[in-house]
Symmetry: D2
Subunit: 269 residues, 4 copies
């Protein structure tokens, strides 16, 4: 029997939006290095973080096909728990140490929204797709090999917010190229009572903690990314000035913890 | 310019998942009175509420076609802000007073999920549809008149969770038949830090506050409802023992406040 | 019992993608007059039609919230049969008579795709949304009155293909302003046998026939439309040079017939 | 430049619902052998086919994650061309030879609907999901190995029509166990002109032709399948009396041809 960790709080916990931790993830990643205008990166940072001037606007775009499971074979219910994700990480500093901050993230699944909010990822719904590879060869799928090409797109509310392409060149021999900055988020949950709209019940700078992190079949090559302008969306302000490497890999990890760095949660008045 | 009330916290607030309050709503309602097994109703109540034995398991199912706007013409962006909703209210007592509690609610829009969570509505994503009427008459649409029939369905993750039908008989002359219990919710937001999973950052019994509540074109008649059994869903445990009246009406109201009745939010350890 | 008119051909016809004719429709229309580049309009016409030089590129964009029914209360199953539609009509000539031709049309429902293909409408899937009005007044919905504003968008595969707005000024006193050109389509169904790909089994210029056409609550005012550029989509080539009037109305009609004007269907070799 | 094979017929063919053949496919298959009531199988056969009494109601359920491409790198646009499919094949006889016939098939993509109809597959829209495996190991994904479990579901219009599970036991050493019956379909496209509704423009018994068929990583084990009852759907009449083996494999092939076995297409009156 599941416990109720999220809402709704139900007799057996089956109807809860997501099972409680531990949370287990496995997925295929397309990642693209790019450089936005440094002032655009600075504009999405919370007050607790500082611009990383040496990074010169460096950021990464992630397109991920995810499979999730909790402790009760949720991976056998893909209609409810499998999902796709697109997000941006920008380089920043926290207490003079290099970190990555997530200003925008989109998924196509509500269980993933719920877990994301609790981790501080500011998730909205979107539609995300990436080219896959399959064991049976043919014209319909690229190989994990030099020359293999993978495309990806993300949209929200019917507007395309991102288009990425990765052309593989070589296997990644040193995983350090993938970067090692900790991922920081603002965990945030507002109050609705009149007079308290600016006193969020939860407002914390947090650091993501991922256990049992595994990478397989990591390849790299050329990355290309566009972040098109959209009505009433600000993501395009981070549009690439230039793009760098692109990566494709499989990743798995577990989540059972979160580290609070700065807690600005307000008491109710 | 919008302020950032929810996440993500962005330079101009346009990419925020929903604008801040005040929130304005207008919609078409199909409502069906029904009676579940009293012990099933009792099993979905939080500890702060008591069973309303006189209600004998009374509950209501709501199917709503909603239009939302904030202060910046959000009603002109229906792809982002228009949505559809299904929920259940069950009769209960709080401090011996009659109230209605929302154990299950489903919407097809993430801005609505965000606002709902902050109000304490335990929203998940679902697909909800109801029969409409149009000003041009014909076989394709029922009239708001005796004999008019309206159907509705709700599903989540590809499983049908509800099927309702309302057959109109007469205009509602006394709005008191629609009920007047305040709507109570558990506002809930967990902690993820290891060792604190059972110390939610937010856990409050709250009362919904709706201003400028208007009802138009209210009709009533016969209501029919089924809540089919689904894999790993508990909603069907509230399946009707019998159904009562059905209603169709248009409703509008504003939301700018929330009343906390009992606050069990836990301090971090 | 339904008959099998479309596929799949099943024992009782219930699983057929759409019921057979007669088909009954009711819906809310947002319509925007605009003028594209005349050569762009000419480029989407089939060989059987001629450019209407006097029209100077005139076209109309339609956003429609539809409800459909056949003969078995399909309007009570809105999850399966209710749908939304966006299409373009361009002015043209057939045998020197003014007609309107449909080069692009998008709906969010497969039963509507099936009926559309049989009528010759070249339907693809898309997401279409329009602002609604409700009987209960308030900030969340415009009124059918001077100053009322209605927005609409359409997208396909996560790319926005159209954005329209109509600001009402006055009731339509003479329905002739809405136009009266017959709607022509190319009904088309290819062959797959090797060597016969260019010998379609069905290739006919047809004229739509709508019976019991009714219009209610027709208002007009200012129309605005954009057709944004999208990757691998050609619709934006019809982007407005200028926009004209906008209309909002409710419409109903029935479909039970189709008129073939030119039949180029090829015999199998 | 693409040619226009389907509708819409556009200047550059980019907006056509699908590129012309050749069509290239690659995908992951979950397949489950089962036996329905023989009279239920018989009831879905067209007049041109006979019941295969020796098969005793044998049928197969397929859940497939597909990637498609034409000749212009369509695999790099997964939002438009990647899709998921569920279908049933039942055993039958044609001219005393064993064949498989497809009575029901559901996909989540309109380009796949268009190609399917031209091949005679009676496609409707549905939502289909299957458990995936990823190169990075962990609790969130099963391995292609003994004990690996894969789940799948299909729904249409918010009703679940199928639930399957495959538990792997061993690699498939002899691909003959997968079966070798040719796949037959009724290619069907109706007329709408009054008086001609029962004279379809296209009505042919056809045989699917797949070239360059490749299978990789084929495993087999225990299969389980349910086909739940749904309102106004007939698929559940094929519900398993018993289930047999389950299979998981990757498959690729090309389509450039179709063989007509019996042509009942009617001339227009």
């Amino acid at each position: 029997m599941k416990k109720n960790y999220f809402s709704p709080l139900t007799p057996r916990g089956l109807s809860n939006i997501s099972p409680p931790p531990p949370w287990h993830y496995a997925g295929d990643f397309l990642v693209i290095d790019f450089w936005a205008k440094p002032e655009a990166v600075k504009s999405v940072l919370p007050a607790e973080l500082q611009a990383d001037d040496k990074a010169d606007g460096h950021a990464q775009a992630y397109f991920i096909d995810w499979q999730f499971t909790g402790e009760h074979d949720e991976f056998l219910d893909p209609a409810r728990y499998q999902y796709r994700e697109f997000f941006i990480l920008v380089d920043a500093l926290f207490d003079a140490k290099p970190v990555a901050f997530c200003p925008y993230i989109f998924v196509d699944n509500d269980a993933a929204v719920a877990r994301g909010w609790v981790q501080g990822f500011p998730k909205r719904l979107g539609q995300v797709s990436q080219t896959r590879t399959f064991a049976a060869p043919g014209a319909a799928c690229p190989k994990i090999a030099a020359g293999g090409r993978f495309g990806a797109t993300a949209s929200t509310c019917g507007q395309r917010i991102a288009r990425g392409t990765v052309t593989l060149e070589k296997a990644v021999s040193d995983l350090a190229v993938l970067g090692s900055r900790p991922t920081l988020n603002m965990r945030h949950f507002p109050r609705l009572a009149a007079g308290q709209w600016e006193r969020p019940a939860v407002h914390e700078l947090v650091e993501s903690i991922m256990d049992n992190f595994k990478i397989a079949d990591a390849w790299m090559g050329k990355g290309e990314l566009t972040l098109p302008e959209c009505e009433n969306e600000e993501l395009s302000e981070l549009a690439p000035v230039r793009c760098g490497s692109g990566y494709r890999m499989s990743v798995s990890y577990d989540v059972t913890d979160l580290k609070t760095l700065v807690d600005h949660s307000a008491a109710a008045k």
